[in-house]
């Protein structure tokens, strides 16, 4: 289950928390900040953080094109919060020049719940995972406002808003399993990497 090397995009955000979860699951997990580091991984996690900053830094550090190429070639990628935004093909309320890496046939809205006073935690049913509901933390989180034909919603809030999606080897969640001790999304992702 832990075959392959897993990179965590380490430009900005809570990449250390993802590295800790992955390492705890027995994975060979490494930070990725340079193209040669990206070339050496079999799967990638894009952490929570600020999507506008990650976008800029991915261009400053010449990672944007290699990332897009690897994703197009089928690299398994799991994105949380800002990571989901980076994986989305279309973004609402983005900066005028903001770009994503794309790959998920979805539209997301940044900061969809409002400001930090509206950030919250709740229990969420995620049918693709066995066991009890996921305790999900939403921090200035995005939501998926459109799920295109190629993508599949895998978790929704009680009001029907989509907060987790997958498509092929790509997985994205609006929330942060990496800060709650929840490991099932990462375990699932490691299985995707092993099968890829």
């Amino acid at each position: 289950m832990t075959r392959g090397r897993i990179g965590v995009l380490a430009l900005q955000g809570d990449f250390r928390e993802h590295l800790a979860v992955l390492t705890g699951l027995g994975a060979d997990a490494v930070p990725v900040r340079r193209p040669r580091e990206l070339a050496a991984v079999d799967g990638l996690v894009i952490p929570g953080g600020e999507s506008t900053v990650m976008d800029k830094l991915s261009r400053i550090f010449d990672l944007r094109d290699p990332l897009r190429e690897r994703i197009a070639d089928g690299l398994p990628v799991y994105g949380t919060c800002a990571g989901l935004i980076m994986l989305a093909d279309r973004v609402l309320d983005a900066l005028p020049d903001q770009q994503t890496l794309g790959g998920l046939d979805v539209q997301v809205r940044r900061n969809a719940f409002g400001t930090q006073v509206d950030s919250f935690e709740t229990d969420l049913e995620v049918p693709m995972l066995e066991g009890p509901p996921v305790h999900a933390v939403f921090i200035r989180a995005p939501v998926v406002t459109e799920v295109g034909p190629a993508a599949e919603a895998v978790a929704t809030l009680d009001d029907g808003r989509v907060v987790a999606v997958r498509q092929g080897n790509l997985l994205g969640t609006s929330f942060h399993p990496e800060i709650t001790g929840e490991t099932r999304f990462h375990e699932h992702f490691l299985r995707v990497v092993a099968a890829a």
Partner: protein, 311 residues
């Protein structure tokens, strides 16, 4: 295992927010997402947009940067709500704003405005020389300054969800920032090396609750994110703070008091990410024009040093 995350919640808050809001995890979580980033002081919408466009992970909205507060003197207070609201409207990244130490009503106003983080800041004139704000009662998270571990732990006990080492704001002299981050990191390392039976006296000496002291000794770090602030003016300054173990940096006067704020902002953002790569820091440092002029901290008379506000 002791959990000091949420001794109390924000249920008695004066504003009503939805279920599950304002928890310790949600408050501390936003700071986790800011890690590796640069938080920039801005005084108007135009500066806020320049900061956002050049890679700020958040902005601190205020009427005067610390260098001007220092130069102009007088009592420094919370900024005009119109200014803060305009900046919240203008940018999509988190917006922080400052309340005076102990001024819980300024904090209530900032929460009502919807700021993403409240900075209970020594850069403003203290409103209470005995008590800091009881931060557990708020839905908005708080960041507080600290010069040493005991001060950091007292702020966390009061509900701070993020700590920044103070440095000496508005000087462009990074030496105090260096001293404070080294002090906090050194005290944590010393705590980690202690045997369990020594932690009771350590708690007494740090003037902080035993449970929190034991948690820090076990984790080997603060239970909240630790940024550095106060005097950071160049890409190399920011990278040094990161190498010393900061989770990120605040840059106050250093960007918009420099010759080319956009270029300097970009450069400091780049150096903060590539903090262990001298080649990248060198690249980021080229051709930035004038840095802020700055004041040597040694030339600032002790009564005018901001870092000594708060205890």
């Amino acid at each position: 295992m002791t959990d000091t995350l949420s001794p109390r919640t924000a249920s008695d808050s004066t504003d009503a927010f939805g279920p599950g809001t304002g928890t310790g995890r949600v408050k501390r979580g936003l700071a986790e997402m800011l890690k590796g980033g640069v938080i920039m002081d801005v005084v108007d919408v135009e500066q806020a947009k320049i900061a956002e466009d050049n890679g700020a992970v958040a902005v601190m909205a205020l009427e005067r940067v610390p260098a001007d507060i220092r130069a102009q003197g007088g009592v420094a207070r919370m900024s005009d709500p119109d200014l803060i609201a305009a900046i919240i409207d203008a940018v999509s990244i988190p917006v922080m704003a400052k309340a005076r130490i102990g001024h819980f009503v300024e904090a209530q106003v900032l929460q009502h405005l919807g700021v993403d983080y409240i900075d209970e800041s020594e850069v403003l004139s203290p409103a209470d020389y005995v008590n800091h704000i009881d931060k557990w009662g708020f839905t908005s998270p708080f960041v507080c300054g600290a010069t040493n571990l005991g001060e950091a732990l007292r702020r966390i006990t009061e509900g701070a969800a993020m700590i920044r080492s103070k440095g000496e704001a508005g000087t462009g002299d990074v030496s105090e920032a260096t001293k404070h981050i080294r002090t906090i990191k050194g005290e944590i390392a010393a705590l980690k090396a202690k045997s369990p039976d020594e932690l009771y006296v350590a708690a007494k000496e740090l003037q902080a609750p035993y449970e929190l002291v034991a948690e820090v000794a076990r984790l080997g770090k603060l239970p909240v994110v630790l940024f550095t602030a106060g005097g950071v003016a160049t890409p190399a300054d920011a990278a040094m703070m990161m190498q010393l173990g900061a989770d990120g940096v605040f840059v106050g006067s250093g960007i918009f008091k420099s010759g080319d704020p956009a270029a300097r902002a970009r450069a400091i953002v780049k150096a903060t990410t590539a903090f262990d790569d001298p080649e990248a820091i060198a690249d980021a440092s080229r051709g930035l024009g004038e840095a802020m002029v700055g004041i040597n901290v040694a030339d600032v008379p002790a009564p005018h040093r901001l870092a000594s506000r708060g205890w």
